[in-house]
């Protein structure tokens, strides 16, 4: 399977994640969509690294995985704190900054 197949797979998963981010009302559901998008990006990086013979893409992937884990931890800690303060995680009800 050539490089094109892996890029198309990554694009499909990315757009499914984008659909999840824009459609989900639960904040944790939005975070799940973001995780899908990050995964698609990682597949893209590793595919390019493999098909051009440059291992730097895989090193980049290791870094993005670590950063994604950190971001997920902080995001979920914020969701927990938000739930304690507002008693809801529905994104529609988190509108304190709305004009």
């Amino acid at each position: 399977m050539g490089l094109q197949a892996y890029l198309l797979l990554s694009a499909v998963v990315f757009c499914i994640g984008l659909f999840g981010v824009t459609t989900r009302r639960n904040t944790i559901g939005i975070l799940l969509g973001i995780e899908l998008m990050m995964n698609a990006v990682n597949i893209n990086l590793v595919a390019f690294a493999r098909f051009t013979g440059n291992a730097a893409g895989m090193v980049f992937t290791v870094f993005t995985i670590c950063i994604t884990v950190t971001e997920a931890a902080i995001g979920l800690a914020l969701v927990i704190l938000l739930f304690r303060v507002r008693r809801t995680v529905m994104a529609d009800h988190l509108d304190l900054l709305k004009g």
């Binding site: 998963v13 999840g20 670590c66 739930f83």
Partner: protein, 164 residues
């Protein structure tokens, strides 16, 4: 005739199917379990691309770590069965249209020029190459990443600390 196309199509079906289940599931906990399957499928794709180290890292950190903390967050916030997606009709149409448009655009860009069909021979062990690159050429991002993860860890602990 290798088994690579069969493995690729099988993993693609698993990955795309579980990704769809993640975004369309009404029960949030089911969505998290489908995400675990999607992350494992991605680890399989990494194995297909000869990135064994990345497959192991993916399984450990993503399918192990992130699923665990998401499950804990769901348990703490106690909103397992969210409100039905069909109540947000307008946003489903807009979201699907945006995703479809982006997919069409990306596919058009990918198909513009013929891309590589064969893999170049990677000399030596890929894991060793990644390890050496991280500690020689990319040592500065590596150290900065350690600082970032420490800051993130402290921040997450501070945010989620028990109330006084």
């Amino acid at each position: 005739m290798t088994g690579e196309p069969i493995a690729f199509w099988g993993l693609s079906i698993v990955l795309v199917g579980s990704a769809l289940a993640v975004v369309l599931s009404k029960n949030l906990f089911h969505a998290v379990l489908w995400l675990a399957l999607a992350l494992t499928g991605t680890a399989g794709v990494f194995l297909l691309l000869d990135a064994e180290f990345l497959a192991a890292v993916q399984l450990l950190l993503y399918a192990g770590g992130i699923i665990t903390i998401v499950v804990f967050a769901i348990v703490v916030t106690e909103r397992l069965v969210g409100e039905r997606l069909t109540q947000t009709n307008m946003r489903i149409g807009g979201g699907a249209a945006a995703a479809a448009l982006l997919l069409a655009f990306i596919v058009m860009v990918i198909r513009k020029r013929p891309l590589e069909m064969t893999r170049p021979d990677m000399a030596g062990d890929l894991t060793q190459a990644i390890g050496q690159a991280v500690l020689t050429r990319f040592v500065l991002p590596f150290e900065l990443l350690a600082v970032l993860m420490l800051a993130g860890l402290l921040g997450a602990i501070y945010f989620a600390r028990p109330e006084e």
